[in-house]
Symmetry: C2
Subunit: 169 residues, 2 copies
DNA sequence: CATAACCGGTTTTATTCTGCAATCAGATTT
DNA sequence: AAATCTGATTGCAGAATAAAACCGGTTATG
């Protein structure tokens, strides 16, 4: 479960890591949805990942150093998955990919509002978001930026669109 | 050969398009290596793509509207593949992916110099490069920016590293 | 204390995708 | 006429993927 190293090209190597249908989806859910447990990733998966695929991908992402696994003290069977620094640095990649998809593919409004904010926020917002992820996943409270949580802002914008599109609630 | 549309999330949809080991590699070679013919893409492929895979991916990329195919007037059997505007707009995605790979994966110096320049150049350089690609692939000479060709600059930097690493030539 | 729900997965089976090598027919070059 | 080049296609074996059922242990609930 290691890289093929077909070539030393950065684009090739990155695609060897995230060039499949599920790896980036899992990282997206951990990053933007704050899913940290196996069942959370499985049940709330928009795209409906199968449990065997999820298990295989989590193992692979661990081998590649993009996530880590720790026991959850609150439950003897629970595992907590965390993003590593390498995965956190995928934020600009997520922003670029999300931005492209938003402009060229049949996205839904609710699900693309986060991509829009992330794109419009630019590198400054990405850095705040990455600092926030470091605080959450690497246990580095010093990394927590002041100001309002980027994650909270993204999710509030999402909720607002959902509310608006559902009409009066 | 269409998208699954597993969800309307921009990141998911983009990964449905480029989330495999070869699609982005082919677009990279067309974009940065100016490979326009089947044999060029096949023979000069660093990663060694197989001809059946290349044929299948070219067909798929056409169906998805990322490339177009035209007859080459110089040879009745030759086809010229061109990037569409949608594919050209993948430049920032390529830059982000290349930048991440350069920082986190075992890239070779020669092959990562382009990624480095593209990253350091930022949006201004990307726009120049995209304008240049429009001139080349969409036959829009008005799009050709003044100043020195980005493609030429990237390739010269690559050649310079190759020369330097080979010692005296 | 019984039992139902939850935990992170594994197993099974079927289907699809991938990679490799050989091959193809028409067009061009030598 | 022969060799080479063109964009592919075919056949095959092995790998990857997907769906569903299932598992033993843990925790919350009545």
């Amino acid at each position: 479960m290691t890289l093929d190293l077909r070539s030393g090209c950065p684009i090739n190597l990155t695609m060897e890591v995230i060039g499949d249908r599920w790896s980036l989806i899992i990282l997206r859910d951990m990053m933007f949805g704050n899913r940290r447990h196996f069942r959370e990733l499985l049940k709330h998966s928009l795209e409906g990942i199968a449990s065997n695929i999820l298990a295989a991908r989590l193992k692979r992402l661990m081998d590649l150093g993009l996530i880590t696994r720790a026991d959850d003290p609150s439950h003897k069977q629970k595992a907590i998955y965390s993003l590593t620094e390498a995965a956190i640095q995928l934020v600009p990649v997520m922003a670029a990919i999300g931005g492209w998809g938003r402009r060229h593919l049949p996205v839904t409004e609710e699900l693309s509002i986060r991509a829009q904010l992330l794109e419009e926020g630019g590198p400054d917002l990405w850095n705040d978001f990455m600092a926030e992820l470091r605080a959450i996943h690497l246990g580095d409270p010093a990394a927590q930026p002041p100001g309002k949580s980027v994650l909270a802002r993204l999710n509030e914008a999402y909720e607002a669109v959902v509310r608006r599109n559902n009409g009066a609630c």
